[in-house]
């Protein structure tokens, strides 16, 4: 890759051939506002917010698609550039509900940030506004096309990140809108609810239904963690308010997932605070009490207090001791082959390896399998 030298607002910066002006500027920490670009996705050139002045070019050029070549002299904040940015923002705002007061995205909305930065008023180009229904009967994602600015980040995220192409643009011109499958609901489309579209949406057009009304971006603590569902080790960001998870966001630097998650990682976090969730180890009463002989199925009386089959909460040491003792008893007193082990895709490779060693060497049986193979 050849190095290219460009100048942005008087700063000399370097990039590589093949990069766009926006990419080089972004890496150098120079801010060029844009609504339709995301580092994880190919450029689109749709919003025209990133138009900049490039010397020797007659018209303003989009930084997001303009190739960085040696010697470019770029101005990102001239009066002409600011006027054009404001113009495009005014157009976007002219077909926007302007309900920031109750909008979920308030505080986490690029359109709102830019409208503030450029003192945009809502009525300069007032005209027809869209009034789309927000009724999309799927369990996970609220679709509010009234807030959509047609940046097509969701279209690209679905195509490039998840590889599904459930989202596309329907119709054209002012009547164009984002739709799913063959212009149907999300649930009727090939959508897998990975939520990548939600993660890249710059406004409140796509929002997790289970996060609605749960809290404002400035009220949450963002905690990066590893998704508990499987062994891939996807990084996710938990948005936590008052010690409760209210949303999951993409961790774009995650080395194994680069921001992507599956439906479980993105939307399957409600178990964390579920009242049915086990928070302590439990052991059958007869095991805890050491009753002999082992009660049979006929002794099962769930309605009666003191039922020998009842699950009783205990501490980890007691539970593990009982488990170890039962393993030992089966290995030593009967045949080790009477024990079988089933491991899980939710465990890491290392954990599964250890279970393999444990089963074959400690217990002494080859009867081990894994749920992903079944």
């Amino acid at each position: 890759m050849a190095t290219v030298n460009i100048s942005v607002d008087g700063k000399k910066i370097q990039g590589e051939t093949g990069q766009t002006v926006l990419q080089v500027a972004r890496e150098a920490g120079i801010y060029i506002p844009v609504l339709c670009d995301h580092p994880a996705l190919p450029p689109e050139g749709a919003c025209r917010i990133c138009l900049v002045e490039i010397e020797k070019q007659g018209t303003l050029q989009p930084a997001c698609t303009f190739p960085a070549t040696d010697g470019l002299v770029i101005h990102t904040n001239t009066e002409r550039v600011r006027a054009s940015r404001k113009f495009n923002l005014e157009l976007l705002i002219s077909d926007h509900p302007l309900d920031c007061m109750t909008c979920e995205a308030t505080g986490d909305c690029l359109l709102q940030d830019l409208a503030y930065e450029y003192s945009v008023e809502g009525d300069r180009f007032e005209g027809t506004k869209h009034h789309y229904s927000i009724n999309d009967p799927n369990p996970f994602i609220q679709v509010d096309r009234n807030k959509c600015i047609l940046c097509r980040l969701c279209v690209r995220a679905c195509r490039e990140i998840n590889g599904v192409e459930a989202i596309s643009v329907f119709y054209r011109g002012f009547g164009a809108y984002i739709g799913f499958g063959a212009d149907s609901h999300m649930a009727d489309s090939p959508c897998e609810f990975c939520g990548s579209c939600v993660a890249v949406c710059p406004t409140g057009a796509l929002w997790p239904k289970m996060s609605l009304g749960k809290g404002r971006p400035w009220e949450v603590e963002r905690i990066q963690t590893t998704c508990p569902y499987c062994g891939v080790g996807c990084q996710i960001i938990l948005e936590v308010k008052d010690n409760e998870i209210i949303k999951v966001d993409s961790a774009w630097e995650g080395p194994s997932n680069h921001g992507w998650t599956c439906v479980k990682g993105r939307f399957g976090w409600d178990f964390v605070h579920h009242p049915d969730r086990l928070t302590q180890p439990q052991v059958r009463r007869y095991l805890l009490e050491g009753s002999q002989p082992k009660p049979g199925p006929a002794d099962r009386h769930p309605e009666v207090a003191g039922d020998p089959w009842e699950w009783v909460e205990t501490d980890w040491d007691t539970a593990l001791d009982i488990t170890a003792q039962k393993f030992r008893q089966h290995r030593d007193e009967s045949d080790p082959r009477s024990v079988g082990v089933l491991t899980s895709a939710k465990c890491t490779n290392e954990e599964n390896y250890l279970m393999n060693k444990f089963t074959r060497q400690v217990i002494g049986t080859n009867s081990i399998d894994h749920c992903a193979r079944l």
Binding site: P43, R152, S168, F174
Partner: protein, 424 residues
């Protein structure tokens, strides 16, 4: 008297048939071209000065020169029959009446640039054109002008027709390629240009029908003949589609550089009903309109630019004094708002807002400041859109306001039309 060349066959009975075409010297230019070296043909086209007839006016020979010479890479000729510029109906007439002349141009172009596949993209609404194209291609195959080893030259060329679904923007070459690939007809980012990465990622030569029609004639009569017609920067014959308030609307093949007045008054019979001329759109609806006093402008790329307009497709729309310019601007803006692909903000929303403002003006609901609001929109959109459509959609309202501002003001202050008021 100028002798028509491109349209010389169209008035013959059964002119679309290969037998009639062959009987009048058809495919002789292709026979001749196939004996020449490809480089010689490219040189001839360059020397002829032929510029694309689809609207942009890019030199055809230069475009051919951009095609890679690498024999290992398959190359494609894409034939643009998506004639959608309102007022333009020249390509349609050629395809319906003389399709073999176009096929001959395609054979020569394919041979020159080393293409082995030609795709025709045709407007979905051209029902007769589609039929004629399909029949002509089948007949050309049967007579050995398409297929393998054409006329024993070793050239293999396959050709097929693809119907569009009715979008103006698919006339833009990269949107046309997207549509040919079966995708949504949105323009592509340039660069890369089609000559590098075109249809299915292959180098592609995209030409307009009229441009391709010029090719066999250049081969047959020589580049000096072609370059001898027209002006300094605009060479060759051109088909002007004349419509609107003239006595004889229709296609007129005339040399480039001919004064607009001559086309309107000598060829199209002048203004109908003895009315006075008011305005002219000289090159299709996307070109800025001219006023009656500019009628002596020569119809050439450079001269129209000098008077603030463009040659475009050469479609001349004539408006007489009964025309309300607010209504004209409103209708033209409605077209562009309807045809915007919706990709970029200024075109998607801006075109709609321009139409809405003109619409309320026309219906007596215009507000003070509306004219300036349109001019602000026009300035904001021009040059800032993803594709050339933005620069085009601003031309009708901007030129109408620049040249007929008093009519717009009258509409706002009097809530009615100045033209109607003058009629009494």
């Amino acid at each position: 008297m100028f002798e028509p060349v491109l349209t010389r066959n169209i008035h013959r009975p059964d002119s679309e048939k290969i037998s009639v075409y062959l009987a009048h010297g058809g495919y002789q230019a292709a026979r001749k071209a196939l004996t020449l070296a490809p480089e010689e043909i490219i040189e001839m086209v360059k020397r002829s000065g032929l510029r694309g007839r689809g609207g942009a006016g890019f030199p055809a020979g230069v475009k051919w020169g951009f095609m890679p010479r690498d024999a290992d890479v398959q190359k494609i000729v894409a034939v643009n029959t998506d004639e959608g510029e309102p007022g333009t109906f020249k390509d349609r007439e050629i395809v319906e009446s003389d399709p073999h002349q176009v096929i001959e141009g395609v054979i020569i172009a394919a041979y020159a640039v080393g293409a082995s596949r030609a795709y025709v993209y045709i407007r979905g609404e051209f029902f007769l054109g589609v039929k004629r194209w399909i029949k002509a291609i089948a007949d050309a195959y049967e007579h050995g002008y398409l297929g393998e080893n054409i006329l024993g030259s070793g050239l293999n060329l396959d050709m097929s027709v693809h119907r569009g679904a009715g979008a103006y923007i698919c006339g833009e070459e990269t949107a046309m390629l997207e549509s040919l690939e079966g995708k949504r007809g949105n323009p592509r980012l340039k660069p890369p240009y089609p000559a590098q990465t075109g249809l299915f990622g292959l180098p592609t030569l995209v030409h307009n029908i009229e441009t391709l029609t010029c090719i066999p004639n250049i081969i047959e009569r020589g580049s000096a003949w072609f370059a001898g017609i027209g002006t300094e920067e605009s060479k060759g014959p051109k088909i002007f589609s004349v419509s609107g308030h003239v006595k004889h609307p229709g296609n007129y093949e005339l040399p480039l550089g001919i004064p607009l007045r001559e086309i309107i008054y000598e060829h199209a019979g002048g203004i109908r009903g003895g009315q006075k001329l008011k305005a002219i759109i000289p090159g299709g609806t996307s070109t800025p309109m001219l006023t009656a006093d500019q009628i002596d402008v020569p119809m050439a790329f450079e001269t129209l630019k000098q008077v603030g307009s463009e040659l475009g497709t050469g479609a001349i729309i004539v408006m007489d004094e009964s025309t309300c310019m607010v209504e004209a601007a409103r209708r033209l803006s409605k077209f562009f708002a309807h045809e915007s692909c919706g990709r970029c903000t200024p075109c998607r929303i801006g075109s709609q807002r321009i139409f809405e403002i003109l619409d309320r003006m026309e219906h007596g609901k215009g507000k003070t400041g509306d004219i300036d609001l349109i001019l602000e929109l026009v300035q904001g959109i021009d040059g800032q859109t993803f594709c050339p459509m933005g620069a085009m959609l601003v031309n009708p309202p901007r030129s109408a306001i620049q040249r007929f501002r008093e009519e717009f003001e009258y509409h706002i202050t009097h809530k009615c039309c100045l033209v109607d008021a003058m009629d009494g």
